[in-house]
Symmetry: C2
């Protein structure tokens, strides 16, 4: 996170793209560095190279900024996941591609992942709105569609409703992301006290889920 911190008195140079995007980029870094509650709108403004008041032309308050950031990043995440899933035709491979792409993204973009997974949970407003957030619903729908395809093809059990399976799969990958981001040192997977390998963990997650959903001949 340190590499992203703005140097005091030295705001990030104005970038291409509109102000709204610059504010969102700045908010991502500041939220990840200091946490949502400790983050100051003035620091976000400084980093974005705009006046404090300008932020309120685009966002109602800090909560709105976090939710807008979530929606912006989730849009990218959903598009990224969908493109990886689309490379495959078999439901099991699609599910595996989803899991791999999700966990690889956490490793590649820890600041974005920290905002999505850690900071967001700390905004009461979002938590209460979570079940109906359209971008989160879209991610769950992508998962449910894959499970549904597998059920239709007779590959996945239909004993578990597809939307419930989707929620379970999300819970599982989200927990792995959280454990990794918070620096969990699961002994067996990280023998030398280092963070476990989240990309390697995708094998374990994929194995548990695809085998767990498999349709048995006895059904």
């Amino acid at each position: 996170m340190t590499a992203h911190s703005a140097e005091p008195g030295k705001p990030a140079p104005p970038e291409k793209g509109d102000k709204r995007e610059r504010i969102l980029d700045a908010a991502e870094h500041v939220f990840a560095a200091h946490g949502f509650f400790a983050a100051k709108v003035s620091e976000i403004a400084e980093r974005a190279g705009v006046a404090d008041g300008t932020i309120y032309l685009y966002f109602k308050n800090k909560d709105d900024l976090l939710i807008s950031l979530f929606e912006s990043r989730m849009e990218r995440v959903n598009a990224h996941l969908a493109s990886h899933v689309a490379k495959h035709t078999k439901p099991k491979e699609k599910l595996d591609a989803f899991i791999r792409a999700y966990l690889a993204l956490v490793k590649e973009q820890p600041a974005a992942a920290e905002v999505l997974t850690v900071e967001l949970r700390q905004s009461a407003k979002f938590m209460k709105g979570q079940p109906t957030n359209p971008k989160f619903a879209e991610l769950l729908r992508l998962l449910a569609t894959i499970v549904g395809e597998g059920q239709a093809a007779g590959v996945f059990t239909d004993a578990i409703p597809a939307p419930v399976a989707a929620r379970m799969i999300f819970g599982l990958v989200d927990e792995m992301a959280l454990a990794w981001l918070l620096g969990d040192k699961t002994p067996e997977s990280a023998p030398r006290g280092k963070k476990f390998d989240i990309v390697r963990a995708a094998d374990w997650v994929g194995a548990l889920i695809t085998q767990g959903l498999e349709r048995r001949s006895t059904q």
Copy 2:
């Protein structure tokens, strides 16, 4: 939650047990009713029937109160889960018992579950300390022990390290608890727009996990 709210000007009558326990009980209700950040220490004091200052004799601050509440409730949860697990001898049945007991507890004690699952995520201090919280570690250890027993007995695959499997299982049940507490209305599982049945969901969670961990003859 409404049923638990203290009526204005009418503190809960002093109960048996020491002040610390009364404060924790009051905090559980107030955190669940208003959320951690909106919760006022004065309201907790009023509900517990103690002076505001008394709270600070037992707890450093609101964060400390939340963490202490977590530890107190997790101690009960761990004991409850362990007793249900102990009724069985086969690893699969133990795992199933754990999942059922966990989800049933969420339904029976929604205020406690809301504090553990929703509010706790909103305390930055706890989030950062989560990997090493001893009570949380104990819950994960109980799960890892069951998985390890299944691996030793050749029932569960040993392709997934037991502590990683434990974390994945926790993520899954925790997500189901969260979805239920936040009032998720998963269409297929709740046809009339009602909350899904979290006790029924234990069947699905158990099915996914025990089949997912099963050792294959081809290994």
